[in-house]
């Protein structure tokens, strides 16, 4: 990428961050991001009203246990739905608003435009869902394990890993939904199909499991899920497979998006 293209990516970032964080379409993103936080506050409220949390969730160990389950909710639902909304609307939303031509009339390579928009959307998703995850984690640990425990170095180190998984999740899911939004006009059906695929991932044959984002993310979660139903969902994957796997998958998907965007025409009337 040359200096001009870097400047152009920064230009796209400025516009897209503004749209993503302050625009009309950002409200659902914030609401989705608040879901786990709301669930945490409901748990805290109910527990306080009934005289304290269940025995197995007390102390720092209990906090970890509670958050492991909560993180599955974040990973499999919040992150998924949030990324569907942000990334599928990245180009499709501009077609609906009839404003994509403003970008297409600037002297920017279409692939560079994809890179800039993707980077901005990833930043938005990471800020909202990473922030939401971090807040939930701190609140859970402060309530169940005490404030000093919540702010201790080992606990914060684990938090860093959780947030890292969220950021990688935004990377992988973002690439998938970006490309879906570029290839398909109807977004609901593919979003539901991919959701079903990701949810049933655990029950798929080994070679099919690898064609999913959640497969790689599960391998990066810092603490293993507890025994019971959740443990069935977890699939041990080496970090050295998971991390490059997600990055490679993202790169390939972005190449497909770059190829696709070169062939996109502005014909709003036919949309």
């Amino acid at each position: 990428m040359n200096a001009l293209q870097v400047a152009q990516v920064r230009g796209v970032l400025r516009l897209e961050l503004r749209k993503g964080l302050l625009g009309r379409r950002s409200l659902p993103v914030y609401l989705i991001g608040l879901l786990p936080l709301g669930a945490t506050f409901v748990f805290v409220l109910v527990s306080t009203l009934v005289g304290g949390p269940p025995q197995e969730f007390r102390g720092a160990g209990g906090a970890h246990l509670f958050f492991i389950a909560q993180f599955q909710f974040i990973l499999r639902f919040v992150l998924y739905v949030g990324c569907v909304w942000i990334f599928m609307n990245l180009f499709r939303g501009e077609v609906i608003d009839r404003s994509l031509h403003y970008y297409f009339l600037t002297p920017i390579r279409r692939e560079v435009l994809v890179a800039g928009k993707y980077l901005a959307a990833w930043s938005t998703a990471s800020a909202v869902f990473g922030g939401s995850t971090a807040l939930c984690y701190v609140v859970v640990h402060a309530y169940l394990g005490g404030t000093s425990s919540a702010l201790s170095a080992p606990v914060l180190a684990v938090l860093g890993q959780y947030v890292g998984v969220v950021l990688l999740g935004c990377l992988g899911y973002g690439a998938v939904f970006l490309v879906v939004g570029l290839f398909l006009r109807s977004l609901i059906v593919p979003a539901l199909v991919i959701f079903a695929w990701e949810s049933l991932n655990t029950f798929l044959p080994a070679f099919l499991k690898k064609i999913s984002v959640v497969f790689y993310l599960q391998g990066l979660i810092p603490l293993p899920p507890p025994d019971g139903p959740v443990s069935i969902l977890a699939e041990p994957v080496s970090v050295w497979i998971a991390l490059p796997g997600i990055l490679l998958f993202t790169a390939l998907t972005l190449v497909a998006a770059g190829w696709r965007i070169r062939h996109v025409e502005i014909a709003y009337g036919t949309e």
């Binding site: 001009l4 400047a7 152009q8 920064r10 230009g11 796209v12 400025r14 516009l15 503004r18 749209k19 302050l22 625009g23 009309r24 501009e94 608003d97 009839r98 404003s99 031509h101 403003y102 970008y103 297409f104 009339l105 600037t106 002297p107 920017i108 390579r109 279409r110 070169r262 062939h263 025409e265 502005i266 014909a267 709003y268 036919t270």
Partner: protein
């Protein structure tokens, strides 16, 4: 000037067709648009916007090739710097002020903060939008939105300006200002391509016209040349004078005159001639010999409206 050099300074369509599925957009278009003001004229659905979208890279031709001052429409890095396009889409990214829109997209062009701010100010000033530019576009009137789109097309100082119905929504004073701006840009050697329904304005400002009908280019060139090539339709000349009846009897003596009658609606003598040059020569003698006091002599159908009517047989909604 050789062919290559001409192509470097023209917008060239070489056998270009565009189909939307089975629907024809434009068909077998051969054009070479030189610098100056060129108007695309035709009714809705004649292919004006399709041609504009093709030359700005928003659409890709189904066949044929296009070069804009030598740049290919699928080369956005060259084309985007050369071309400014004021589209007919009355839509903007949501939540932006006029200033933010211009500044934001100039940054995407690659300008640094200072250059983008300077260009934003200059473009806003040129279209008279400095004052309202800090308001959200959503609060703008139609005329203001039109002007901000013009500013957006002008802001990076392009050599080619493509303007789809640029006078829409503008009040008479703003129209006059914008037309003066187009003339100024054309005088600087730029290409200004305009589509417009308002044919008398097209007549006033165009250096040449491209007449379109159902996706085909039916004529191109200066209005006078296009009109002059239409031998089937004698040129109409309206003469206002003190003795029209006497003049009518004398102009019939000229070979090329096929009709002469008093047109009370237009208040003069309407002469139809197959050869305007010969008629004007003979007319001078007639006037001098008969001492007719002539107030005005003007072609009555040498405008886009009449030319389009003759070529297509009317029926369009171009006027």
């Amino acid at each position: 000037m050789d062919t290559q050099a001409r192509h470097e300074d023209a917008i060239v369509f070489d056998n270009v067709s565009k189909f939307y599925g089975e629907v024809l957009g434009v068909n077998r278009v051969h054009l070479a648009v030189p610098p100056g003001i060129t108007s695309l004229v035709g009714p809705n659905g004649s292919g004006k916007t399709t041609l504009m979208n093709l030359m700005t890279g928003l659409l890709r031709p189904s066949q044929g090739t296009i070069r804009v001052l030598g740049a290919r429409p699928d080369d956005p890095e060259r084309l985007g710097a050369l071309v400014g396009y004021c589209t007919q889409f009355d839509s903007f990214p949501r939540g932006f002020t006029g200033r933010e829109l211009l500044y934001g997209y100039l940054r995407v062009h690659g300008y640094d903060a200072q250059a983008a701010a300077q260009r934003t100010d200059r473009a806003l000033e040129r279209v008279g939008m400095t004052e309202p530019s800090r308001r959200r576009i959503a609060s703008y009137s139609k005329g203001m939105r039109q002007r901000i789109k013009l500013a957006q097309a002008l802001a990076h100082d392009p050599r080619v300006l493509v303007l789809d119905e640029p006078l829409n929504g503008l009040d008479p004073m703003a129209r006059a200002e914008v037309i003066a701006l187009f003339r100024d840009l054309a005088a600087q050697g730029r290409h200004v391509i305009i589509s417009s329904h308002i044919l008398h304005e097209v007549d006033l400002i165009s250096d040449q016209v491209v007449l379109l009908h159902e996706g085909y280019v039916v004529a191109e060139g200066t209005i006078r040349n296009v009109r002059g090539e239409m031998e089937k339709h004698p040129l109409q000349i309206l003469i206002r004078c003190d003795r029209p009846a006497q003049l009518a009897s004398r102009v019939f003596e000229v070979d090329s005159v096929v009709e002469a009658r008093i047109d009370e609606e237009r208040g003069g003598l309407l002469v139809k001639t197959k050869d305007a040059e010969r008629f004007y020569l003979a007319f001078n003698h007639i006037v001098l010999e008969n001492e007719v006091r002539v107030e005005a002599v003007a072609p009555a159908d040498e405008d886009v409206d009449a030319v389009y009517e003759y070529l297509i047989g009317g029926g369009g909604d171009q006027a």
